[in-house]
């Protein structure tokens, strides 16, 4: 009897590993909250990759991919954890998410690690996530803010900005990026006149603007969210004439920024993780066909996050995150044949044949230890009330 049980259990296991199945991919993003205007395009990016893989029929002997969305709220860690637990209860073993750093840390520590779930975040950028104990389950298609801060400092210096005031949103993302920018800018010989936090969703930002104005500087770096206090402080600074030039990192870049301030922020610097190259162009075509905005921050990274998850499963020949997690770096980096967006079927075939691939994807993915993007950044400027791409760094 015992032998029979063992044998049937072993058969079940084997069948599970080899046969076609339905892979459940959770999209755990901030559909409500301070970055709610970005989330739909991020989700669309991941869904496009999932659909491409599923339709190809080449994933693990014809497995399909089903996506399900859940809301992280971006700011409420408890809500994010509860939503992620619901996904796990529904049978999800891999997540594209979270969107914001604080919420991502909470979900990783309290849901993903205890349940052995793999997470690839398209947009969580806090330096704290580089050093977290993740048991190899966490990756991100976005670079750490430690790098973004350096790029911000370089660009500011290149434009002849010698002194800046910094205002940052009072959370892991804001503090992390503000600190790394300050360190890099001071190391390059610049002066930071003040670095002060602002809270999101407050009634009035006069006090913050007054303090920043008194400190002064050639430019104001707004390390905040475009749907929240970041815009409030920018508005105040423009109205009182305290600053005319601004430095906007990724949380502020988006249509909402130019539609709100238009020519008022003419000549300001915008920086967000994004890449140029063949992958980018391919991704733009693909997005146009799927009907979403490819220039929206992190939608390319979300496409890559979903693609990396599915390709690593193919490489491991198993949808079990415990096996797939060890293949992510291998799939993402050289050596191997380069895979661009829209070529996921080819990637799956090559992996099935045992050939190594180098996934380039929409954002020129190059993962460095401990599993995060090396980072390519797009510099934009605001000209005639529109975001204009200057170059890539």
């Amino acid at each position: 009897m015992k032998r029979l049980l063992l044998a049937s259990a072993a058969t079940a296991l084997l069948a599970g590993a080899a046969g076609a199945e339905d892979v459940k991919l959770g999209l755990h993003l901030g559909f409500t909250g301070p970055l709610e205007s970005m989330a739909p395009n991020i989700a669309a990016g991941a869904e496009a990759a999932a659909k491409e893989v599923s339709d190809s029929g080449k994933l693990m002997d014809g497995s399909t991919v089903t996506t399900s969305r859940s809301d992280t709220t971006c700011t409420d860690a408890a809500a994010s954890v509860a939503a992620a637990e619901r996904q796990i209860a529904d049978g999800v073993k891999v997540l594209v998410g979270g969107q914001c750093s604080g919420e991502t840390i909470a979900t990783l520590e309290r849901v993903a690690i205890p349940n052995g779930v793999m997470m690839i975040s398209p947009s969580a950028t806090s330096p704290a996530l580089s050093t977290i104990e993740d048991q190899g389950l966490f990756f991100r298609a976005a670079p750490s803010d430690a790098r973004q801060g350096e790029v911000m400092a370089e660009l500011a210096k290149a434009q002849g900005i010698e002194s800046v005031a910094i205002t940052y949103t009072n959370n892991d993302y804001g503090k992390g990026l503000a600190d790394s920018f300050q360190a890099a800018f001071e190391a390059a010989g610049g002066t930071v006149t003040t670095s002060a936090a602002h809270d999101d969703g407050k009634a009035d930002y006069s006090a913050e603007v007054a303090a920043l104005a008194a400190a002064g500087g050639d430019a104001l770096a707004v390390v905040g969210y475009v749907d929240q206090g970041g815009s409030g402080v920018t508005q105040g600074a423009l109205d009182t004439g305290a600053f005319e030039k601004f430095i906007f990192p990724d949380g502020m870049i988006g249509e909402a920024l130019v539609s709100r301030f238009g020519t008022g922020i003419e000549g300001s610097i915008g920086i967000n993780p994004a890449a140029e190259g063949d992958g980018r162009a391919k991704f733009e075509e693909l997005a146009a066909a799927a009907g979403f905005d490819p220039s929206s921050p992190y939608s390319a990274e979300a496409y890559d996050a979903a693609a990396l998850i599915l390709l690593s499963m193919q490489a491991a020949k198993s949808s079990d995150p415990a096996a797939a997690k060890d293949k992510v770096m291998e799939v993402a980096n050289a050596p191997g044949e380069q895979i661009l967006p829209g070529e996921l079927a080819k990637g799956l075939e090559l992996l099935a044949a045992g050939t190594d691939i180098d996934y380039v994807g929409a954002s020129s993915v190059e993962l460095v230890e401990p599993g995060e993007s090396a980072g390519s950044f797009r510099e934009t400027t605001i000209k005639d009330g529109k975001l204009e791409v200057v170059g890539f760094h």
Partner: protein
Amino acid sequence: MDILNALVAFLNFVFIPAAAYGAQLALGALGVTLIYGILRFSNFAHGDTMAFGAAMTIFATWALQAIGVSIYPLPTALLALPFGIAATALLALGTDRVVYRYYRQKKSDPIILVMASVGVMFIMNGLTRVLIGVDEIRFDDGARFVIDVRSFREWTGLTEGLALRTTQLITLVVAVLVVWALFWFLNRTRSGKAMRAYSDNEDLALLSGIDPERVVRMTWIIAAALATIAGALYGLDKAFKPFNYFQILLPIFAAAIVGGLGSPIGAIAGGFIVAFSEVAITYPWKKVAEYLGFDTGSAMLQLMSTEYKFAVSFVILIVVLLFRPTGLFRGKAY
């Protein structure tokens, strides 16, 4: 010249923003204090009544804009205010009929009414979001500035600029008019006197033939009008976002309590005290001091960092409650 620069910097960054914010808080606190004085409970739904009133005003503004009505350079929303007030007054009267009247007739403790108002707050909260959505809405279509920084600099030749937004000026002017009208109503008209009598002593007012239900209805209508005006002005000046009205409830209550709950003059004073202390205590005085000829070195002359601005209102609140529990202007305590 340098004294002028110091004055302009002070006006631009401290006085004008704090005065406009203070007026917004004062109008909100007046509504809270009126309900406390006459209906004898702290109405936590006031912030969301403001949001609802502002939302209704926005709908009326859109309707007016659609038929091409404009009072440029003033924002169309000012014309839409009466519609917003009417809709909000109906909601307030309806809420009173369905919720508060029952507890009033049972002569429930004030704390029960307060808890009921928390429930009403959540329902109004949802109602506003269902009707107009959660997104930020900007409905200020008038001229943006009365004085803007660039032309002020060119005109005066000073290094410091001065900005006065149209909405800030409107907020201050409307606040003064509303306060004057409210005091005239309370002190000079029969209905106003009836309300004050009811507030002072309910039983005695009943004996002298004052209809309590009429007083209650009038209180709700006035409170709804104050909430709508405060909500719409705040939305005009900043931007309408339902969530922000929930946040503003805290400073409004601080203002009402500092001034003395139940005292209209206290509510106004409280609004300005809270607003000015939030801005002035966290303002780095370095620039102003340097214009006045003091060498400050590298010191910012900032008493507290801006993260603590809410703490400022609460410290004032605690000090007032400790040393003068009924508020600066001797409010009521039930």
